[in-house]
Amino acid sequence: MFKGLLGKKIGMTQIFDDNGVAIPITVIEAGPCYVTQLLTSEKDGYSAVQIGFDEIKPSRITNGEMGHLKRNNLPPLRFLREFRTDDPQVAEGDKVTVDQFEVGELVDIVGTSKGRGFQGGVKRYNFGGGPKTHGQSDRMRAPGSRGAGTTPGRVFKGSRGPGHMGHERVTVQNLKVAYLDPERNLIGVKGAIPGARGGLIMIKGARKS
């Protein structure tokens, strides 16, 4: 069955369970979302549900996007994302909310990690760097060797090294739903999730549970 929602990361706090144990949670303002399109394997080559989130002014989206949403008489939406599923059980134009989840359930969270810019190997891949002492200079955060010598005589593609870090799609699997407020469209999952506050978050039913 299809389970999915788009939301905005609000931030982290902690709540107390019945035994008084503090649980760290990340609060997400999720939905209300609308099913904007159903993709089928016959027509599109794969089956998925397209979900829209965040109502905005009509002037903020293009006429093409507007037409796509008008088909199902939906308001202008800022984000559209697809969730792959073989068993949608929803129809185009349907509203989806946090009601589909329940406390204690496991979910997968997809977000975009915070951008770190161009970083060296020590920060990006936990390289050890060079020695601090024994006559060394300028070696403390050096990457060291890039590979073997004359054979192969080149650096293999995909070798780890300095480069752009962060701002990439990150999935965290099997986070427990610890808090739900359907009235205000809030959902709280136990633990941290990728991205900055205010970032777009995809919530899916757990794939491996």
Binding site: I10, T13, Q14, I15, F16, A22, V27, Y179, R184
Partner: protein
């Protein structure tokens, strides 16, 4: 956005008054032993407080019978805290009373604030 976070958090425990560094307090903590629940008392001086919604804490220091200092940090909004009684306030000039750790006896006294 932080406003939304604040509403998720539990309400302030009415049995925990505002605490300040230097307060002589007695903290009543609910403790579960098997099926029984009892209340344990921890008396001491508030060394420092950390006020941030549900993650608020306060640290209490007391000197145990053999002269060994014991510090315990409590979550201010935890439902396990039955109540906190402030026995006296002290006149202190800093927010974090780390200097008390290296003092004992007479020099560890604090001036009372009325």
């Amino acid at each position: 956005m932080t406003d939304i976070l604040r509403t998720v958090e539990s309400p302030v425990n009415p049995n925990v008054p505002d605490l300040f560094p230097g307060d002589q307090v007695s903290v009543h903590v609910k403790i579960k032993e098997g099926n029984r629940e009892r209340v344990q008392e921890f008396k001491g001086v508030v060394l420092f407080t950390h006020n941030n919604g549900n993650t608020s804490t306060f640290t209490v220091r007391r000197v145990a019978s053999n002269g060994i200092g014991v510090e315990r940090t409590f979550l201010t909004r935890s439902p396990r805290i039955a109540k906190v009684v402030v026995e006296r306030h002290s006149q202190v000039r800093r927010a974090r009373l780390y200097f008390l750790r290296s003092r004992s006896g007479k020099s560890a006294r604090l001036k009372q604030k009325f």
